[in-house]
C-alpha cells in the first residue's frame, strides 16, 4: 500500500506561531527534558552500583555519592516528566499526523508507559525513605537498606523499558510504509516496531548517552563539594569523568552503527549532502572531542576547572546531537508531511505573555535555587552532607 495514502491531514486551523519558533521550542524543550531524563536513567543505575559497593561501609565515598544520587533522583524524575510536556506538545503540533498515527498503532505499550513510570518513580521514593540511611543514622532502623541497590535496578530496568517503547514510537512515526501491516496485525495496539533495524542502535545510543551524562552528574556533585571537602570532590570528579569517558568511547561504535542504519541517502545528509546538518554534526563531533579532552584531564588530576570545561562541552554536544536528531526527523517525514505548508496565524498577545512569563520563570527559578542553596549552606556553619541536610524533614 502506498504510504502516502496513509498520512492524515493537518487540522483546518492555523499554527499559533511561526514554524521556526515552534521548532526551536521543540528542540529546546527536548534538550531540557533529555538532560534530567539522563540524570534519572543513568543516575539510578549508577546509584545502584555505588550503593551496592558502599553498603558495608557507610562512611565510604561510594556510599556517600550513591546516597547523594538517590536523594536527587525523585527531583530529576519530576523535572524530566515536567520538561517532557514541552516536546510532547510541540511534536504533536508540528508532526501530529505522523506521531498520533504511530502512537495508536502501538497503543498498548505506549499507554503502559504511564503505569511503568508510576511504579518506577514510587520505587525511587521507597529507596529514598526506606533504604538509604545517612552514615550518622542508626542502620538498624533501616532493615531493608540491603535491598536498596536491587530496587534501584528494578526501577532502572523499568525506565529502560520506557525508553525502548519511546524509541519504537519515535522510529515508527518516521516509517508510514510499516503502518498498515501493523494495524492489520492488531488494531487494539498490541504492536511494537521491533522489526525496524534503526531501533536497536538508536535505543542503545540513547541509553549509553544517558549513562555518559550521568557520569557528568557525578562530577557535578564533585563541583558542589569543591572547597568544602576537597578530597571527596576530587574523587567525584575523577570517578565521574572516568564514567563519562568510558561510555562516550563505547558510544562511538554504537553511533556509527546508528548512522549506518539510517540508510545511504539519509546518512549522507549528515556527511556533506546537507550543509546545515553536516555543520551541526561536525560541531557535535568537535564538542565530543573537547569534552573528552577536558574529562580525561579531570580524570587524572581531579581538576574542577578541567571538568567544568569538559562537562560544558559534553552538554553542548548533547544539544548539537538533539538538533541533529530533529533534522533527521524532518528529513524522514518531509516526503510525507510539510509543516511549512500549514498556514500561520500568530497569537501575538498570548505569545508575548508566554515570553514574559518564561523570563519571569527563569528569574524565579534562580531565586529558588539561591534560597535552597543558602538554606543548606548557611554562611556561619560548617556545611553538612547533602544527604544529611534534609534529615530533619525526612
Amino acid at each position: 500500500m502506498d504510504p502516502h495514502s496513509l498520512i492524515p491531514h493537518y487540522q483546518a486551523l492555523p499554527f499559533p506561531a511561526p514554524l521556526w519558533l515552534l521548532q526551536t521550542l521543540l528542540i529546546l524543550g527536548f534538550f531540557l527534558h533529555a538532560i534530567p531524563m539522563n540524570f534519572m536513567l543513568g543516575g539510578t543505575f549508577l546509584a545502584a552500583i555505588f550503593l551496592a559497593k558502599g553498603l558495608k561501609d557507610k562512611s565510604s565515598y561510594e556510599y556517600r555519592i550513591g546516597r547523594g544520587l538517590v536523594k536527587g533522583l525523585p527531583i530529576y524524575t519530576s523535572v524530566a516528566i515536567t520538561q517532557g510536556i514541552v516536546p510532547l506538545l510541540f511534536v504533536q503540533l508540528i508532526y501530529g499526523p505522523m506521531f498520533y498515527t504511530s502512537s495508536v498503532l502501538i497503543a498498548v505499550p505506549w499507554f503502559a508507559i504511564i503505569f511503568i513510570l508510576l511504579v518506577a518513580y514510587f520505587l525511587l521514593y521507597w529507596v529514598v525513605y526506606k533504604a538509604s540511611p545517612a552514615a550518622s543514622e542508626d542502620g538498624s532502623k533501616y532493615p531493608k537498606a540491603k535491598f536498596g541497590p536491587l530496587i534501584l535496578l528494578v526501577s532502572v530496568a523499568m525506565m529502560a523499558v520506557i525508553g525502548f517503547i519511546f524509541s519504537n514510537n519515535m522510529t515508527l512515526m518516521l516509517h508510514p510504509e510499516k503502518w498498515m501491516a501493523l494495524y492489520q496485525h492488531s488494531s487494539s495496539g498490541l504492536n511494537l516496531n521491533t522489526a525496524d533495524p534503526q531501533v536497536p542502535p538508536r535505543y542503545l545510543h540513547m541509553v549509553i548517552g544517558a549513562l555518559a551524562v550521568a557520569g557528568l552528574l557525578v562530577g557535578m556533585y564533585g563541583l558542589y563539594w569543591n572547597k568544602k571537602d576537597n578530597d571527596y570532590s576530587a574523587w567525584l570528579i575523577k570517578r565521574g569523568s572516568a564514567i563519562y569517558i568510558f561510555y562516550t568511547l563505547l558510544q562511538i561504535p554504537v553511533g556509527l552503527w546508528f548512522m549506518y542504519s539510517l540508510g545511504h541517502d539519509t546518512m549522507h545528509k549528515f556527511m556533506g549532502a546537507d550543509t546545515l546538518a553536516t555543520g551541526v554534526f561536525g560541531v557535535s563531533m568537535v564538542l565530543m572531542v573537547a569534552s573528552l579532552a577536558g574529562t580525561i584531564f579531570a580524570a587524572f588530576k581531579g581538576s574542577a576547572a578541567a571538568f567544568t570545561s569538559g562537562m560544558t562541552a559534553g552538554i553542548l554536544c548533547v544539544l548539537a546531537m538533539i538538533v541533529n536528531r530533529h533534522q533527521l526527523r524532518h528529513f524522514m517525514v518531509s516526503p510525507f508531511i510539510q509543516p511549512e505548508s500549514v498556514q500561520v496565524s500568530t497569537q501575538w498577545d498570548l505569545l508575548i505573555v508566554f515570553v514574559l512569563s518564561a523570563v519571569a520563570l527563569i528569574a524565579y527559578l534562580v531565586w529558588l535555587g539561591k534560597t535552597i542553596y543558602k538554606a543548606h549552606n548557611p554562611a556561619n556553619k560548617p556545611p553538612l552532607q547533602l544527604g544529611e541536610q534534609s534529615q530533619s524533614a525526612v
Binding site: S5, L6, P8, H9, Y10, Q11, L13, F15, P16, A17, L22, P74, S78, V79, I81, T82, G84, I85, V86, L88, L89, Q92, L93, G96, P97, Y100, T101, S103, V104, A107, W110, F111, I114, L118, Y121, Y125, W179, M180, Y183, Q184, S187, S188, G189, Q347, D349, L350, F354, S357, L361, L365, L368, T371, I372, K374, A375, Q389, S390, S392, A393, V394
Partner: protein, 450 residues
Amino acid sequence: MNYPVWIVPYLGGGWIIGIIAIIHVYLSHFAVGGGAFLAITEGLAYKRKDDRIYDYLKTHSRFFMILTSVSGAVTGVAIWWAIALVNPDGTAILIQNFTLAWALEYLFFAAELATVFVYYYSWDKISKEQHLLLARLYCFLSIMTLVIINGILTFMLTPGLWIKTHYWLDGFLNPTYFPSLIMRLLIMFAIAGMYAMVTSSRLQDQDLRSYMAKYCAKWLLPIFLAGPLVAFWYISNVPQATMSTIFTGIQSSGVGNFSILARTLYLSLILSGTIVLFAYFGPYLNPKGFTFRIAILFLACGLGATGSTEYMRELLRKPYVVYNYVYSNGIRKEDVPRLSQEGFLNAGVWSKACTAQGENNEQRGEVMFRYQCMSCHTATGYRSMKKLLGERDEDAIYGFLTMLKETNPEKNQYLGIMPPLTGRDEELKDLAKYLSTINKANVNLTFKPN
C-alpha cells in the same frame, strides 16, 4: 476518520480517558487546594506560634509532595496519552488552537513543582517568614495552572464566540469559564480538607488531632455555602439544549424520563451532600471520635463525587468534543452535509484505507462502525450494540440508521446525545449488515482485512 481507530475491547476508548481523568482530577484538585491548605495552615501556625501544627505540616507536606509530584503529574501526562490515542483528531484541534496556552500552563506548572520541592526541603532551614512565603507562592502558582487549564476545559463545552472568530481568547474566556473556575476552587478546598483529615487522623497528640479534625472539616464549608449558587450560575451558562436532555432523558440513555444524566447528577449531589453532612456531624461536632478509617471513607466518597461529577460534565457535552464544532466521533459539524451526500468512508484518510482492505459489505460496515459509533459504543461490552439492538433484524436496523442520519431534531430524537449518522445509503446498508451480525452466534466480530 483521518487516523486509525484504537479498538479497546469491552471497555471502549472513552473509559480509558474517563478513568485516568477522574483519578487525575481528584489528585490535581488536591494539588491546588492542598497548596491553599498548606499556605493558610502554615499562616495559622505562624500566628499562633504553635510548633505542633508546624510538625504536623512537615509530615503532611511530605505526603503532599509525593502524591502530587508522582501521581498528580504522571496522571496529568496520562491524560495527554489517552486523549491522543482515543481521539487524535479532537486532540489535534485542541492543541493547534491552544498550544501557547498549554505552554504557558507548563511554565506555571514547572514553577509550582520547583516550589514544592524547595518548600519541602527547606523545612527548618530558612526563616519561618520565608517558608511561609514559599507556601504562599506555591498556592499562587498552582491556582494559576487552574486559571489556564480551566479555559481549555470549559472551551470544549462552551466555545462561545470562538466558533465564529476562531480567536483563542474568545474560546478561552468562554461563558462557563468563571463559574467553572469558582466551582473548581470550592471543590479543591473541600478535597484539600478531606486529604488533610487523613493525615491529621494519624496524629498521636489527641488534642491536636481533635483540633485538626475540626479545622479540616471547616474546609468543606465554602462549597456547602456557595456551591449551590455557583452550580446554578454554571448551569445557566451551559447550552440549554444539553440541559433539557438532563431532565427529559431519551430512550437510549436511560429509562423513560429518568436519564443517565439525571441519575448521575443526583448521585453527585447525594454524595456531595453526604460528605458535607458527614463532615459536620463527624469531625466538626465530634472531632475526638474521628479516626483514620473514617477519613479514608471520606476520601472514597470524595472520589465517588468527583467521578460522578466529571462523568456528568462529559455527558453534558455530548454529542460533541467541542460544542457545535466537532462531534465526539471526530466528525466536524460543518462536514456532515457533504459526508452524507458524497459518502463517509472515502472522505477520511484511514477510513478510506481500511475500506480498501475490506472484502465485503459486512467488513465495510464494520469500518463505518469503528469511525462513527465506537467513540461511545462497543460491540459487546460497554454501551453494547448487542444489547441496544436486541432482536432487530437487518431491515429494522437499517430503518433505525436512516432515522439517525436525519439532522432535524423533530425527526431524530437522538440528536441531543448522538452525532447524526453520516454516509450514503449504501454505507448505511453496509453498517446495518454488520450490526445485524453482532447478535448472531459464531460470528467473528473483529474486522479482518486481507
